[in-house]
Symmetry: C2
């Protein structure tokens, strides 16, 4: 059975997965890039192990529309094709949650963006088929992860706690109607820069 897995979800000490004042120039909000430095600059071996685990055994992905791009509401004429250039780093099918239908966008390198307008369960069902026996990775943003947490559909949640304070932005643990049920800590380990927590569904 395919698992739905969240990896490398970087979160500040004060609980934000994106900083305040998100714009097209700063899609992660003010100072939000600091959440992701550990992945890109002098990656520590502990950090690398967790980072790499997010690529292993994944056959498809799901993400929220805000992670796909800055366009809100109807798509209009804009030919937005994601933040990642012509050859996005996914190399598999990516299902984007949206309220506005859009035809699929094939990219170089095996990535195809599909758009799902009929809900998170439909997206998971399609992604599971596309994954062909591998797991499905769930991307952000916070609202998307929250939707799947509320539905009890997240099997693994890896948080990368970055010891900074952002003071505002998007909180991960919010709008959850209490506690996500059944997630418990399977691993806690820290590099000098990041504390990694792996929560798994019982």
């Amino acid at each position: 059975m395919a698992k739905l897995r969240v990896h490398n979800l970087s979160i500040s000490l004060d609980g934000y997965v994106a900083g305040p004042s998100q714009t097209r120039e700063e899609p992660l909000g003010h100072d939000g890039e600091r959440l992701h430095e550990w992945m890109f600059v002098d990656r520590d071996p502990v950090d690398h192990r967790f980072w790499a685990a997010g690529q292993e055994g994944i056959g498809a992905a799901i993400m929220g529309r805000n992670m796909f791009g800055p366009v809100r509401g109807a798509w209009g004429d804009e030919q937005w094709r994601g933040w990642w250039g012509d050859d996005p780093p996914f190399h598999h099918d990516v299902f984007v949650l949206t309220h506005h239908a859009h035809e699929s966008i094939p990219m170089q390198g095996g990535t195809t963006f599909h758009f799902v307008a009929d809900g998170i369960e439909a997206a998971l069902a399609q992604a599971t088929v596309a994954a062909g026996g591998l797991d499905v990775r769930l991307g952000g943003g916070a609202a998307t992860v929250q939707e799947y947490l509320r539905a009890g559909l997240v099997d693994e949640l890896h948080l990368a706690i970055v010891p900074i304070l952002l003071g505002g932005g998007e909180r991960l643990f919010d709008h959850l109607d209490g506690c996500p049920e059944g997630l418990e800590c399977a691993e806690l380990v820290s590099s000098p820069r990041v504390a990694h927590v792996l929560l798994v569904r019982r």
Copy 2:
């Protein structure tokens, strides 16, 4: 110059320092005791080092009224003397923030509870004198730490991140009017049970 230091402030992954539904029987709220198990049950060497640091070089303490006891509003007739029995584990002067004056309460073992009704700066000034050149430890609850953070008076903040979800309760990083200024990570290290972060004022 005496420092104002917060130690062993246990916080859940979702940011709570006390669980929901606090009562006299469950002063830390539902499931809140799980935040503190690491201090009391089979303490790991890494955890022990941080726990012990909270006792070192401390000459006085400050805490909020809710940490001192469950009595709200006027003191009335109740002879509340804290949660800790006749010989509390402080062994120095403890300044309790309150809106209601109360005479000092000397306890066994060197602890005396004093009550400060004229604000956090007054409490810090009195505690600094009482500490006699040592540092002042700041206890909880969340609202008290927030007051001192907003005032920029916290020199060291040690958080013990416990990898559990509480789903509700008192959030530490709330009501802060943005980001506490000038705190940066001096150490991040983890035992298998707790990730410790030491923030210090630049």
